[in-house]
């Protein structure tokens, strides 16, 4: 008994030591800065003049800043890419799941863009979208005989262009998740559906789709969180948020405020609004989850 107690004491001590770095990280780089930024969002925090408490002034100013609302609109618009990407990924996964020849090679090819850096991909697509010499407009001209728009400069086309690039970049990776989910579906379900007289189309709607809803849910939640924070492609492909600011996202707006105008307090308030939007969206998804996500019953 004596030794058992001392072993536990020792175990406790060692365990605390082992988790110490992670806990320190939590306070130093996670919770600490997070709470500080909440405090800072109520101040006029400027690198030159220090911190001065201003109450809700930052939040009030944000609500009347036109660029902020543009950025919010753009961010939500760009989020359309999440469901589009998920739908494309599902189709790809269904195709890959047939295990035809070369399906392993296909898997690698479709995955390739998502491991390449956003910066290189953005540079590449800037060139593809080039109005005069870009390959996209060249193809449109050669194949369909039409003049393509000025993708990255025309305010109406900037967001669709970004969505197209985003879907191209990430749907191969998303498909890998679906592929794993599809391979986890027990064959007996399909056999049972067949006995009940279901065709392939019906068994897809009645068996496959409901059974992969947990992974769809996961992808939707992660996709929204990720998409809400896009920055790199905007920074690389567009200058100053694009024509009429029509490509700027919330994170881009925040970055400009913090690191170009050095309005740190204001930027912290924007960050907290962004964090709240992400939190609410995630919460909403979890709330509606039980209506459509399969839970094993």
């Amino acid at each position: 008994m004596q030794t058992k107690v001392s072993i536990y004491k020792q175990e406790k001590r060692w365990a605390y030591l082992f988790v110490l770095p992670a806990v320190l990280q939590f306070f130093l780089f996670g919770a600490g800065p997070l709470i500080y930024s909440l405090y800072a969002s109520f101040t006029d925090w400027n690198v030159l003049f220090g911190v001065r408490f201003v109450g809700l002034a930052n939040y009030r100013e944000i609500l009347v800043t036109e660029r902020f609302w543009k950025a919010v609109y753009n961010t939500f618009f760009l989020m359309l890419g999440t469901p589009i990407g998920i739908a494309c990924a599902l189709m790809l996964a269904l195709a890959l799941n047939r295990r035809t020849i070369g399906s392993k090679l296909f898997r690698v090819i479709y995955y390739l863009p998502s491991v390449s850096s956003v910066v290189a991909i953005s540079i590449l697509w800037t060139w593809i979208y080039n109005y005069d010499y870009g390959i996209l407009n060249t193809l449109l001209r050669m194949v369909f005989g039409v003049d393509g728009p000025n993708w990255l400069y025309d305010p109406t086309w900037i967001k669709p262009s970004l969505i197209l690039m985003g879907v191209w970049r990430s749907f191969g990776a998303t498909a890998i998740f679906y592929l794993a989910a599809l391979q986890n579906i027990p064959q007996v379900y399909y056999e049972a559906a067949k006995i009940d007289g279901a065709g392939p189309w019906q068994s897809f709607w009645r068996v496959t789709l409901p059974l992969i809803t947990p992974i769809t849910f996961y992808l939707l939640v992660m996709g929204v969180i990720g998409n809400m924070q896009s920055f790199a492609e905007i920074h690389v492909m567009l200058s100053n948020g694009g024509t009429e600011y029509s490509g700027a996202t919330i994170v881009y707006f925040l970055w400009q405020k913090a690191f170009q105008n050095y309005e740190m307090g204001f930027a912290c308030a924007v960050a907290w609004i962004l964090g709240s939007i992400i939190f609410i969206l995630t919460l909403l998804q979890f709330k509606t989850m039980r209506h459509w996500v399969y839970d094993g019953s």
Partner: protein, 282 residues
């Protein structure tokens, strides 16, 4: 013929393969265009209709690019960040994962949930106080702000390894305890060897994340020689796009993608598995 399910299956397979091949061409086409542009002579880049295969093929942009930009510094700095963060961070993460999955201590579950919560915090929400903190220490335009936080571990990795460790029998660890093996000894001799595959999988993913990181480096690094690879390429792009030297820009982009693509192709099996496991277990 179509009533025969086997034949139907085969026709379906052929159709799917054709569609997949067309899709694969669409996926690879932009990359091919990138490489093709990088090998062209300046005056042929803007010809219409475009030259699909460059004639003549010029490799000199791939040499020129090393002389023109601090590309080498970009590679070096990214390697320094990636290696130090991954080596130390893997050590700290795996220790924490071991404690969270196999050791007994008060408030274990609560503590773990708190750590998981940090995965939900957007970087944008913490980057400003972090930036001010590091600039007060005088670390702006050094690699430290990119390295230091990572040394304390990576929550995603802790989570992933903890999931993996649930599959390692506790009996072995209990036996070692009774034999008087120290806890660090258990970690070093039993836990670490048994989670090697999981570590490999996660390290690949982590490396790609660090190599492709952009927002962090853009905030902290201002002088070209201090920059990691992504801001170097972006800077390069904005500089040479105005001179229309697209061959040079594309060559630099191709070079910057090489390390991750090589790693991906060699480790893709582990990589994809890790991705799937971490996704499936939520």
């Amino acid at each position: 013929m179509l009533t025969n399910p086997k034949a139907q299956q085969r026709i379906g397979d052929i159709l799917v393969t054709i569609l997949l091949s067309l899709g694969a061409v669409t996926m690879l086409f932009p990359f091919a265009w990138m490489i093709s542009t990088s090998l062209k002579e300046q005056r042929y880049i803007f010809t219409l209709p475009p030259q699909w295969i460059p004639d003549p093929i010029l490799w000199h942009k791939y040499i020129e690019v090393w002389e023109k930009v601090p590309l080498l510094y970009g590679f070096m700095n990214s390697t320094i960040v990636a290696l130090s963060v991954i080596i130390v961070g893997t050590f700290t993460s795996s220790l924490a994962a071991f404690a969270f999955s196999k050791m007994r201590f008060p408030h274990k579950e609560k503590l773990f949930m708190f750590l998981l919560g940090t995965m939900m915090i957007p970087y944008a929400a913490v980057m400003i106080p972090q930036f001010v903190m590091f600039s007060n220490i005088g670390w702006v335009d050094t690699l430290w702000p990119l390295i230091l936080p990572g040394l304390f571990g990576n929550v995603a990795m802790i989570f992933f390894l903890r999931q993996y460790l649930t599959g390692v029998p506790t009996a072995i660890i209990d036996a070692a305890k009774i034999d008087g093996c120290s806890f660090f000894g258990i970690y070093w001799r039993i836990v670490l060897p048994s989670i090697k595959p999981a570590i490999a999988a996660h390290v690949v993913m982590w490396f790609m994340g660090i190599w492709n990181d952009y927002l962090g480096p853009v905030i902290y690094l201002t002088s070209p020689r201090k920059m990691t690879i992504q801001p170097v390429i972006a800077l390069f792009n904005s500089y040479y796009a105005s001179q229309n030297d697209y061959a040079l820009i594309m060559a630099a982009s191709v070079i910057s993608m090489m390390p991750v693509i090589f790693i991906f192709v060699f480790f893709q099996r582990y990589f994809i598995e890790s991705l799937v496991i971490s996704g499936m277990k939520e």
